[in-house]
């Protein structure tokens, strides 16, 4: 078998060939300008996501789960993970506005103040963590009430 590749489903090959034909037709036009730049963006987007962004957030998550596990609070994971992930998601999507990297163009183009976005993102983050902490407190309280009094 070594060195020999099976063919696989002819129907799949036909379907993928049609798909490639269309992709090449559009791709030639997509690459008509700065072909190297565009190719780097398309391939780079996939590589950056799969080999940088995903391992980074997976490692951060693992650190949270591990850290809480060491203090025997593994069941608190979601109370940290949810606000952190939602805040990170907002930062990821609105990074140009939050970071202020388009401040001048935004202000002179739209007539709107660009500095509000960082403040708002920080406030939303604070509300998310505060809400999560509140929910956890309520849950711990109701669990304490249900538990029979400790025997001394």
């Amino acid at each position: 078998m070594r060195g020999r590749l099976a063919v696989g489903s002819p129907l799949h090959i036909l379907l993928l060939s049609c798909s490639f034909a269309l992709a090449v037709y559009a791709g030639v036009r997509l690459l008509a300008g700065d072909w190297l730049g565009v190719a780097l963006w398309v391939v780079g987007a996939a590589l950056l996501h799969d080999l940088v962004l995903l391992p980074l957030y997976a490692a951060a998550d693992r650190a949270v789960v591990g850290g809480l596990g060491r203090v025997r609070r593994r069941e608190w994971t979601m109370y940290v993970r949810v606000p952190a992930a939602l805040s990170g998601l907002l930062l990821l999507v609105w990074f140009p506005l939050i970071s202020g990297r388009v401040e001048e163009r935004y202000r002179s183009g739209t007539g709107l103040p660009p500095e509000v976005f960082l403040t708002r993102w920080l406030l939303i983050t604070a509300v998310l963590f505060a809400g999560s902490a509140l929910l956890l407190t309520l849950r711990l309280r109701s669990a304490a009430k249900r538990r029979p009094p400790a025997v001394h």
């Binding site: 590749l5 099976a6 063919v7 696989g8 799949h12 090959i13 379907l15 993928l16 049609c18 798909s19 490639f20 269309l22 992709a23 037709y25 559009a26 791709g27 036009r29 997509l30 008509a32 300008g33 700065d34 730049g37 565009v38 963006w41 398309v42 391939v43 987007a45 996939a46 996501h49 799969d50 995903l54 997976a58 789960v65 593994r74 069941e75 994971t77 979601m78 993970r81 949810v82 992930a85 939602l86 998601l89 907002l90 990821l92 999507v93 140009p96 506005l97 939050i98 990297r101 163009r105 935004y106 002179s108 183009g109 739209t110 007539g111 709107l112 509000v116 708002r120 993102w121 939303i124």
Partner: protein, 413 residues
């Protein structure tokens, strides 16, 4: 043995992937949501492209080499007048809302990126090449869209051709992927008991959340993005709910001219020297020659009102504003087109900017609501909204509503 592919310290080993969430059910649910969502994104994207009337004139066409990709183009209608507002609001808001689903879907299948052997057959090898176009093309579309609405033009070229041709590359791979995988995804959802597949971890870690809980988590991310974005299409206090969207929060001003601005007069380089009463003249050309009109002369023509929104390709819009001005078809009549309003070529005072010149089709000129507006909401236009005069056409993309109009040439384009 360090280079044994089954060594669980290597991502090529199934044992490397510990999450108990991964499995065919989770991936299938996310995949079907994306199947529906991305189909809507593609259709609204193609409609938005058609709304520019690219076949009408080279000035409207940022993709002159489109070839057969423009096969479906049609004369963009003027009814209903909120058509572009709805289309583009859906396109951008839905795109942003789908980001968590896309990220979760990619997370759920990442072990397959490292599967060995890289290809089991020729068909499988081709499928993996197609997946690079699917993932790279998909992320390219989302990233260019998200950057463009925030005015961050770092991508390598003009947004219009990149996002349009990129969409077709992505869609080619998307259709193939959907045809290959949808039957399996539907089967996975119908099946009550989870079956085994390569995504299920052989040595799962202790769960911290159920699969349903994880789906709620993804949905919560989508809901948060939706709730902080959709308001930039709404009026009144609801706009304030769009806390992080570029045109959410509040309006740039108060009063009749206080609504959202795409590009200010200062940004476009328009000064009062050119727009002052004694300096500015509207030059209208047509079948019977050229007419030059001052703003005072324009204001003596029959004036009409229409309630129309501003709707931007960037996915924000205003509610209907009350515009007042001269009908485009009356201006056509002034230069010899009494009963048969033709296309019109509109030029702005702007010296730079992609749409300082724009063409409108005969059906847009003929619509009685299409105006060369002189005032809005009962007050003279402000410089930022196009003083001395601007175009406003029902259902047209914002950039075709040319501001600071200097010259209008009627005739078939």
């Amino acid at each position: 043995m360090r280079d044994d592919p089954r060594d669980p310290r290597l991502p090529t080993s199934p044992g490397f992937w510990r999450s108990p969430l991964r499995g065919p059910w989770f991936t299938s649910v996310l995949g079907l949501v994306l199947l529906a969502g991305i189909t809507v994104l593609f259709v609204t994207g193609l409609l938005s492209y058609a709304a520019y009337n690219p076949n009408l004139s080279p000035v409207n066409d940022k993709t002159p080499d489109k070839g057969i990709l423009g096969f479906y183009l049609f004369a963009w209608p003027t009814d209903p007048h909120w058509l572009y507002r709805l289309n583009q609001g859906v396109h951008v808001t839905l795109g942003i809302t789908l980001i968590p689903v896309l990220l979760a879907k990619l997370w759920s299948v990442v072990p397959r990126l490292f599967t060995l052997p890289p290809a089991r057959s020729l068909a499988h090898a081709l499928e993996r090449v197609s997946l690079l176009l699917l993932v790279g093309g998909g992320l390219f579309e989302f990233v260019t869209g998200v950057l463009n609405v925030q005015l961050d033009y770092v991508f390598p070229g003009s947004f219009y051709p990149l996002h349009f041709y990129g969409a077709w590359v992505f869609f080619a791979a998307f259709v193939a992927h959907a045809l290959l995988k949808t039957p399996t995804a539907l089967r996975n959802l119908r099946r009550l008991r989870e079956e085994k597949d390569d995504l299920v971890s052989p040595r799962p870690a202790e769960p911290t959340v159920s699969r349903r809980g994880a789906l709620w988590f993804v949905g919560g991310g989508s809901l948060l993005l939706f709730a902080t974005t959709v308001g930039q299409n709404l009026g009144g206090p609801l706009r304030r709910t769009a806390l992080l969207a570029p045109h959410g929060g509040g309006d740039p001003g108060s009063g009749p001219n206080g609504f959202q601005i795409n590009k200010t007069a200062a940004y476009a380089g328009i000064g009062t020297a050119e727009t002052a009463e004694d300096a500015w003249r509207l030059v209208v050309t047509g079948r019977t020659g050229t007419v030059r009109l001052s703003r005072a002369q324009l204001a003596e023509l029959p004036l009409y009102s229409s309630a129309l929104p501003i709707a931007c390709v960037e996915g924000w819009s205003t509610p209907d504003q009350w515009w007042r001005g001269v009908r485009l078809r009356d201006l056509a009549a002034l230069v010899g087109y009494e009963d048969d309003p033709p296309d019109v070529f509109v030029e702005s005072l702007q010296r730079h900017g992609a749409f300082r010149k724009a063409a409108l089709r005969a059906n847009q000129v003929a619509d009685p609501r299409s105006l060369l507006a002189l005032s809005v909401n009962g007050e003279e236009l402000s410089p930022d909204h196009g003083h001395p005069a601007r175009i406003i056409v029902p259902a047209a993309p914002g950039v075709l509503n040319t501001k600071w109009v200097a010259r209008m040439t009627f005739g078939d384009l």
